[in-house]
């Protein structure tokens, strides 16, 4: 008896036991924790297509996230002449990061840090409220794996067809299907790597260079790296990435609690489970007909009825699978649903289930998120478009001049963040000086006007000398002030004057 006929016999047997057109699946939860060993080859999972609200939601999220990823570099944004016209661009060569109307310099990297902190806090909050929605919907690993499974299903068919194909001997048809599947995966992978590099250079120019072979070697190398990672992580490794490689399933346990929503099998309603034939009474038994459709749909290879487990990414596909079955047997939806274990306990105890979204944890996460967002917004709104850095000479610390006066030297860096050249006024406060001049600038006393080109830093040397009569006894702090007379914008930097030892 070959594998094919054996399988058919199994399916026939299963059909026999099913009711109301519900096919009992022989799917096994291959990643059930009781079955996991330390050394084990991967057992393939054949997730079955489901239809329902969460499947639609996941398609929508996939479409949105992939569109953002693939198309963002192609959005144009006019910044005037001399500046790149790409809306989102990491310009490593010129050390600039462009995001629509925002332009960041390397020294402003704390905005990126702030965004990362905000992202972390948001994911904490989301985890505390809705469990692993990041894992289930938005994580690139989930999105690309879902896309790869979709392609696989298009070419090789749904679950049972794929199982059959795997067991078939190598015929021309099987080879053709396998070649086209892996080719399609590779095309997606190459496009993924290709999209990545467009964030680092002008997209239309780079696209032309890529095809004419003129692009930098690093561009091709990064396409290669991302092709490899996308193909192997999304096509070959899939759920193993989440189970064995990703730290987040471990970390997120600290962010959630018993009240956080999670994809939950309502054991209070489902148990005791068992086969159900049409017309049979539901008295004295649970709503679960043990059809295993939730297991067949699971991309992680688990049985949600075992309860919350590390492998579950909360993708909610088992909810859709179960709801389809509940429709067929004429029971209410929600045997598997976004719920909590404490609600199951409450129902068992005869209490009403409650959803407590407002808890100490969510208030804390939400509050901290709001505070960080407010700080960042404030910092961004009050962000200067000019900057001043002063480095006092330390070698030598001070210079004694021929008339006995003492001079200190400073390296002054003037930053112009704006897209047009500006004439900036440099002054000093809090120090009585004999002379203050900036080398290369003609004015020698009082205010000094310095032209700083658009989007540039100008580095200049300034010298401050004090004659013996005015020389402070000890080192003295004072302030450099840089002002844009046109806009009134002003930045200050503290520095020091060292009079040196008496002689």
């Amino acid at each position: 008896m070959n594998a094919h006929t054996k399988l058919n016999a199994t399916i026939a047997a299963a059909m026999d036991e099913a009711a109301n057109g519900v096919v009992r699946s022989d799917a096994e939860a291959i990643n059930r924790s009781a079955k996991q060993a330390f050394y084990k080859a991967r057992v393939p999972i054949y997730p079955k297509l489901v239809h329902g609200f969460y499947r639609k939601l996941k398609w929508a999220v996939m479409a949105i996230t992939l569109s953002i990823y693939y198309f963002t570099p192609w959005i144009r944004w006019d910044r005037g002449p001399g500046a790149p016209s790409q809306a989102v661009l990491v310009d490593l060569a010129h050390e600039r990061f462009y995001f629509f109307f925002i332009e960041l310099w390397p020294q402003e990297v704390y905005y990126i840090t702030g965004l990362l902190i905000l992202a972390a806090l948001s994911i904490f909050l989301a985890s505390a409220l809705f469990g692993r929605i990041w894992c289930g919907y938005a994580c690139p690993q989930t999105v690309w794996t879902d896309l790869f499974i979709y392609v696989e299903r298009m070419i090789e068919g749904d679950r049972s067809a794929r199982i059959r194909l795997d067991k078939e001997p190598w015929t021309a048809g099987k080879i053709a299907k396998r070649v086209s599947k892996h080719s399609a995966w590779l095309v997606i992978s190459v496009l993924t790597g290709g999209a990545w590099i467009f964030y680092f250079a002008d997209a239309p120019t780079l696209a032309r260079q890529l095809f004419t072979g003129e692009a930098a070697l690093t561009a091709y190398a990064f396409i290669g790296i991302f092709t490899f990672t996308t193909y192997s992580l999304g096509g070959l490794m899939r759920e193993q990435v989440c189970i064995y490689m990703c730290p987040w399933p471990r970390i997120q346990a600290a962010m959630t609690d018993a009240e956080a929503l999670s994809v939950t099998y309502r054991s209070d309603r489902g148990e005791p489970r068992g086969f159900h034939k049409k017309g049979q009474s539901w008295e004295g038994r649970g709503a679960c007909i043990d059809c295993n459709q939730c297991v067949a749909a699971c991309p992680m290879g688990i049985d949600i009825r075992d309860g919350a487990q590390l492998e579950c990414i909360n993708c909610a596909l088992c909810i859709d699978a179960c709801d389809e079955v509940m429709d067929k047997v004429g029971l209410a939806h929600g045997l598997i649903a976004y719920d909590t274990d404490v609600n199951i306990q409450r129902r068992k105890a005869g209490e009403k289930p409650r959803f407590q979204f407002v808890r100490a944890r969510t208030i804390l996460y939400g509050g901290v998120t709001a505070v960080v967002a407010a700080i960042m917004l404030f910092a961004f709104m009050t962000r200067h478009t000019i900057g001043l850095d002063v480095l006092r000479d330390r070698n030598p610390n001070y210079v004694r001049l021929s008339d006995g006066s003492v001079r200190n030297g400073y390296t002054i860096k003037l930053l112009n963040h704006s897209g047009h050249p500006r004439s900036l006024e440099l002054t000093i406060d809090g120090l009585k000086v004999t002379s203050f001049n900036v080398i290369g600038e003609h004015d020698t006393k009082g205010d000094i006007n310095i032209l700083v080109p658009a989007d540039k830093v100008r580095s200049l040397r300034a010298l401050i000398a004090i004659e013996p009569a005015d020389l402070p006894k000890e080192r003295r702090e004072f302030t450099f002030t840089l002002k844009d007379p046109a806009s009134g914008e002003k930045v200050e930097t503290r520095s020091m004057f060292i009079p040196g030892g008496g002689q």
Partner: protein, 290 residues
């Protein structure tokens, strides 16, 4: 090793090696396949490496490999590439006048960077890494320029040196008044008081009076009647607060006795004219020059 020696551990399902210590048996757990795969790949890689890269030492030299890779050649190529990349700015620097360089921010930036690097390599051993100088070695940050502080003066001093082997060297020599017996110790003591008085500090009035004629006879030829120095001879101004060999009476007296004069080598032929230009611009920028 025969089959009947094989013993399978019932708990893990793994064969044992047959080794046993006090009842503890060693499992023969196979290496992870991925690890073994990488290990074999490394062996294959190393064979390829021997073929294409320099690998094995021989009695004379070494195996060069098919790629003929050499880090020495790479460094030479990199330096050549750097030189050709700098060529445009370098040739602009060579042809531009000092004033033009000063007024062109890009060229000035290039000259300052080159000058700073050249200063670290060639000048810092005597003048200090910050050009702060030390006793006998002039501070280049201040406003005292023995041989002139204009760009052209500095450029010339670097080119020909001071008391150097160049035919055009800046040249002068203060006599060793004490060591060579030109003046008596008492006269040197009086002269010291006179120089102290010149720099507006309290001094022995009688000694100053006695030394007036001595100064006029022995020192004024170079330092001037008023002691304000003379750039023709690189003779320092004795009335200011700056002292190359120290300003205390003891140090002044020592200098009159020894008549020291430092040597700065000529950099002509050792550094390119563009580098000397850059050095002059850098040194001029330190304290603003003249």
């Amino acid at each position: 090793m025969t089959d009947h020696n094989k013993e399978v551990d019932s708990h893990s399902g793994t064969e044992t090696t047959g080794h046993e210590w006090d009842g503890i048996k060693e499992l023969n757990t196979p290496l992870p396949r991925w690890w073994l795969g990488i290990f074999y790949a490394c062996i294959v890689w190393s064979i390829g490496y021997w073929v294409v890269m320099p690998a094995w030492p021989m009695i004379n030299g070494y195996t060069h490999g098919m790629l003929n890779h050499s880090q020495r050649v790479n460094v030479a190529n990199d330096i050549a590439a750097l030189k050709s990349a700098r060529h445009a700015s370098e040739s602009k620097l060579a042809s531009a006048s000092m004033d033009h360089i000063q007024s062109n921010p890009d060229l000035l930036q290039f000259a300052l960077a080159e000058g700073k690097a050249a200063f670290g390599d060639n000048c810092a051993p005597c003048h200090g890494s910050g050009a702060q100088g030390s006793k006998g070695y002039p501070n280049l940050n201040d406003d005292v320029w023995l041989w002139g502080g204009k760009l052209a003066d500095i450029q010339h001093t670097i080119t020909v040196g001071v008391r150097s082997t160049s035919a055009e060297t800046r040249q002068s020599q203060m006599p060793a008044f004490g060591k060579d017996g030109i003046l008596k110790p008492a006269q040197i003591r009086d002269l010291t008081e006179y120089v102290v008085a010149l720099s507006h500090r309290p001094a022995n009035a009688a000694a100053v009076k006695r030394a007036r004629q001595l100064f006029s006879d022995n020192c004024a030829a170079c330092h001037g009647e008023d002691g304000k120095g003379n750039r023709e001879f690189g003779a320092p101004n004795l009335t200011d607060a700056d002292w190359l060999y120290g300003g205390s009476p003891q140090e002044i007296s020592t200098q009159i006795y020894l008549g020291r004069g430092g040597v700065m080598p000529t950099w002509q032929g050792r550094l390119s004219p563009e580098t000397i230009k850059s050095l002059a611009i850098y040194v001029h920028s330190l304290g603003g020059g003249e």
